[in-house]
């Protein structure tokens, strides 16, 4: 019987071992995500009892902790809250946090001191680490210009330094004040949360990076890039009939204006945003070429890092008529304004896609730099030759084509307008994606609803906003 009892001992040993391994692995693997879970009230309570690092735009704190009273010894305040809300996010006792407040939570609370010894001492003594501040890449002047230009409209502006990927402006309207959600008055916080979520204008939606829309004609940049990469030149001629019957259907695709002949060059097609010509480009080079090009620009996956964007998408498994529509940014093509800004940025940066980012430095309490973001590339979207050709074509759009209102005297500006009409009920979406060579910035403007009854178009509605933002950046 002792033999079998020893077997029982082995089984008991395995059970105990499993328990010990499990609690140890839980500690090693799960603790961080558990501590960072926004629903974790223990951590939240402790954090609300401590100061929290500031978030800076330029030299100005746009989020900071000030001494409070009562249950909350510290109060989170937001300067220009609505304007910076899509950057800072909110920090709420009841509703957790988002955006940079979430992405850099451990730095802001001081629980991620990179000095290993210090961290060990902190964890042994139970002392909180020193809180760190975030230096964002936001240019306050550009942010303000974009914010002013979007007043009264539903829309978004994203501006990127295309040589580094640093995001200079990141605006979404209408917006909300994050301070409403960090109020020590929990009843008021609850009421504000309910009201914000019930608001049909969706003020908490991040239209700049977390929402995707049909990009309309701005997507022709991607199609043109795919064609050039496939061996076309800007002078390659393409059929541009006034009406194109989509293959296999009775649907007639028309142009918004006269394209300038029954056969025009690729450059001319982009300049006048000729739908039938680009539909033919798409039919010629095929959906796979466009899809591959879109993926190289960043479609199909989120921009990582601190941006945490929505995923822009180019559909798959298209029939020819859908391919033709997708080539002009209709059908099921979706993109965030951030994505279209990255497309313009990559072209302006001679084909190299720079990873967009929002935080340039994490700075410790004693002003020592804890970490610095070094710009990184996520690959090449197009060859340098193709990029140069696209730059020329985009410049002619602004100089002579649909984007004239984006011109800034003395600056080299290239861009592409877009007017996406996906149904007849709402006003069309107005887009402008372009770049300015001198302050080396790429900007995407998106207006969903200008709040007027006039027809809004990329050229009339979005291009002037682009101009104002570029002027602010150049100033």
């Amino acid at each position: 019987m002792n033999r079998t009892i020893r077997h029982v001992g082995v089984v008991a040993g395995i059970l105990v071992f499993a328990l010990l391994v499990n609690v140890t692995l839980s500690y090693l693997l799960r603790n961080n995500s558990l501590d960072n879970n926004p629903a974790n009230q223990r951590v939240l309570q402790a954090q609300f009892a401590q100061p929290r690092g500031a978030i800076l735009a330029g030299n100005t704190p746009i989020a900071q902790s000030v001494p409070g009273s009562g249950d909350f010894p510290y109060l989170r305040t937001y300067a220009n809250g609505p304007m910076y809300a899509p950057v800072t996010g909110f920090y709420s006792y009841m509703y957790g946090r988002n955006k940079l407040e979430q992405a850099y939570n451990s730095a802001l609370t001081g629980s991620s001191d990179p000095r290993v010894i210090q961290q060990l001492i902190n964890s042994l003594t139970g002392q909180p680490g020193a809180v760190a501040s975030l230096q964002t890449t936001i240019n306050p002047a550009a942010q303000q210009a974009a914010w002013n230009a979007l007043q009264g409209k539903q829309g978004a502006v994203v501006a990127i330094d295309y040589t580094t990927g640093a995001i200079l402006a990141y605006v979404s309207t209408p917006s909300y004040d994050p301070a409403q959600l960090s109020s020590p008055d929990l009843d008021a916080t609850q009421a504000a949360w309910k009201a914000l979520n019930a608001d049909p204008a969706a003020p908490m939606a991040d239209r700049a990076g977390r929402e995707i829309y049909p990009p309309g004609s701005t997507f022709k940049l991607v199609t043109a890039a795919a064609a050039l990469e496939a061996g076309w030149t800007p002078d390659t001629m393409v059929d541009s009939p006034a009406r194109l019957t989509l293959p296999g259907t009775n649907t007639q695709l028309t142009n918004d204006s006269n394209c300038g002949g029954d056969q025009i060059s690729l450059q001319q097609a982009l300049q006048v945003s000729c739908n039938t010509a680009f539909a033919n480009v798409g039919l010629t080079i095929g959906q796979d070429a466009i899809a591959a090009q879109a993926a190289r620009f960043g479609f199909g996956k989120a921009f990582g890092g601190d941006v945490n964007s929505a995923v822009s998408a180019f559909p798959t498994g298209l029939d020819p008529s859908q391919t033709a529509l997708s080539a002009i940014g209709q059908y099921n093509v979706t993109a965030s304004p951030l994505q279209m800004a990255v497309v313009a940025a990559a072209i302006a940066n001679n084909g190299i896609v720079m990873q967009p980012y929002l935080v340039s430095q994490v700075v410790g309490a004693d002003l020592n730099v804890i970490s610095t973001h070094s710009p990184s590339s996520s690959g090449r979207a197009v060859s340098a030759t193709t990029a140069a050709e696209l730059q020329q074509m985009m410049q002619s759009v602004v100089a002579n084509g649909t984007g004239k209102r984006a011109q800034v005297p003395g600056l080299t500006i290239g861009g592409k307008t877009g007017t996406a009409q996906s149904d007849n009920v709402r006003a069309p979406y107005a887009w402008f994606a372009g770049y300015a060579a001198e302050p080396h910035v790429a900007v995407c403007v998106f207006v969903a609803n200008a709040g007027t009854n006039e027809d809004q178009t990329g050229g009339a509605t979005a291009a002037p906003i682009f101009r104002q933002v570029v002027q602010a950046l150049n100033g």
Partner: protein
């Protein structure tokens, strides 16, 4: 070898092995210190001072531990010296945590009630050790024990006394006190099954029809086996208590295996349990919920609030814990019962929780060692069964809280709130101590006159043994031990 055995001289052993009682007394000091330390630190950390007459509680705890020690010293001198200190340490930790939760919640008196139950538990412990020196008297009544065990199990289903608490019908309520009879049934059925198998293990192992590799036992040998299996089913189906059912099936399988050395019992028992569990999973919504909250707790914050708060608590505790009184374990619903190990993890950290698991492992190891040393099949089966049920219960509940397994609502032995479980576990500890005393005590003044060629037929006159001590009964298993003893001399 046989030649030596036949001519062994009847001389007493000269060297008496150490009884281990001083070791036990020494171990009681740190064992008491952890619980009392937790109690004192909680008060200091939360209020900065100690309450007036704070020393009463530690003094009472020390008195209880010393009383238990004295009973063992007098009546079970050679008992394993580790079991009692480990039990005292666990009880102290549990009381300290319950008191700490009382302080956080305010207006509750759980710790005081638990302390009263502790007195009852130690009294039962002492009673078992004093009156059950020869535990083998229990071996005489397997059928009565079977019936008693089943009646106890079925009591919660009876009208009037049976009550339904938290969706499980596992309680009875008499004169205002609620009690979980399954805890006692666990002991009674273990005794019954051990006594039944001790006599019949050979029959079960060998008799019967052979079909392929499996040997089917005879029907009349199988009836008690069936009763044990039915006990599990009753708990599972009628009381919706998957955890306790797991314990019964585990007990059933392991005791059958230990007794018969047939792996087929493990296969058959395992399949039976797996089948029953699959059916229950299919038809009982709450089991699916349990499995779901184990795998994906964060998909439903409200439904899995308890397990999520437990996880948050243990993460918040980190390696060394927040310190006694400094965490927020009262955020966890039922922190004093199911989730006391999560509360421990929060306040004394991964280190503390690991320590608690190791304490449980020590009890199990000592129990199994007793099973190895025991001189009779009944003692072996009894201690092996109790040890295994104990480790199974600890694994199920701590594993459930730490998300190794789906959560089953079992008690955490000696730690968690609840009188029936506490008293039953003190009784199990007492039985382990009694058996280990009989197993470890030296065989003084007595050498069995064994003719090893006729192993099964030895008759020993029990009255010739001093003071009712148990002499070695000789069965196939014990003969080996006799040989060893003989060789030593």
């Amino acid at each position: 070898m046989t030649a030596v055995a036949g001519t062994a001289p009847r001389t007493p052993r000269r060297d008496t092995p150490p009884s281990g009682r001083w070791a036990e007394l020494g171990l009681l000091v740190p064992a008491l210190a952890v619980g009392i330390g937790g109690f004192v630190l909680t008060n200091l950390n939360r209020t900065g001072t100690l309450p007036p007459r704070w020393w009463l509680v530690p003094a009472l705890g020390t008195l209880l531990a010393l009383a238990a020690h004295l009973v063992v010293r007098v009546r079970a001198r050679y008992a394993d010296p580790v079991i009692l200190p480990v039990v005292v340490a666990l009880c102290g930790l549990g009381l300290a945590m319950l008191n700490r939760l009382d302080m956080a919640i305010g207006g509750t008196d759980v710790a005081r009630t638990q302390l009263i139950w502790m007195v009852v538990g130690v009294a039962v412990f002492a009673a078992v050790i004093i009156w059950l020196r020869d535990y083998r008297v229990l071996q005489r009544y397997p059928y009565i024990l079977f019936i008693a065990g089943m009646v106890l199990l079925l009591m919660p289903l009876m009208p009037i006394i049976g009550t339904n608490i938290n969706g499980s019908r596992i309680w009875i309520r008499i004169a205002g006190y609620s009690f979980q009879p399954a805890e006692v049934a666990k002991i009674v059925l273990t005794l019954a099954f051990a006594s039944y198998l001790a006599d019949r293990s050979d029959v079960l192992a060998s008799a019967g029809k052979k079909i392929g590799a499996l040997t089917l036992p005879r029907l009349r040998d199988v009836v008690p086996v069936f009763i044990m299996w039915a006990a599990g089913v009753v708990v599972l189906v009628f009381q919706n208590d998957l955890g306790t059912a797991l314990l019964f099936f585990g007990l059933f399988i392991v005791m059958m295996y230990v007794a018969t050395d047939r792996i087929s019992w493990v296969v058959v028992g395992g399949l039976a349990f797996a089948g029953a569990a699959a059916v229950i999973y299919r038809f009982a919504g709450h089991v699916q919920v349990r499995v779901d909250s184990w795998l994906h707790p964060f998909t439903d914050l409200n439904q899995n609030y308890q397990i999520i708060e437990g996880q948050f608590g243990m993460a918040w505790g980190g390696l060394f814990g927040r310190g006694w009184g400094l965490g927020s374990p009262s955020r966890i619903p039922l922190a004093g019962t199911d989730f006391i190990s999560a509360a421990m993890g929060e306040e004394i950290g991964l280190v503390g929780l690991t320590g608690i698991i190791v304490l449980y492992a020590l009890i199990v190891a000592r129990g199994l060692k007793t099973a190895l040393l025991a001189r009779d099949s009944f003692g072996k089966l009894l201690t092996a069964g109790f040890s295994f049920v104990f480790v199974l219960q600890v694994t199920a509940i701590i594993g459930g809280v730490t998300r190794l397994l789906p959560l089953t609502g079992l008690t955490t032995p000696f730690l968690s709130r609840g009188g029936s479980s506490l008293v039953a576990n003190w009784a199990i500890a007492a039985i382990l101590i009694v058996v280990s005393h009989q197993a470890r005590r030296p065989v003084v003044d007595f050498e069995p006159f064994v003719d090893l060629d006729v192993e099964q037929t030895t008759v020993i006159d029990l009255s010739s043994l001093e003071d009712g001590a148990v002499g070695p009964r000789v069965s196939a298993d014990d003969t080996t031990q006799q040989r060893a003893l003989v060789r030593e001399q």
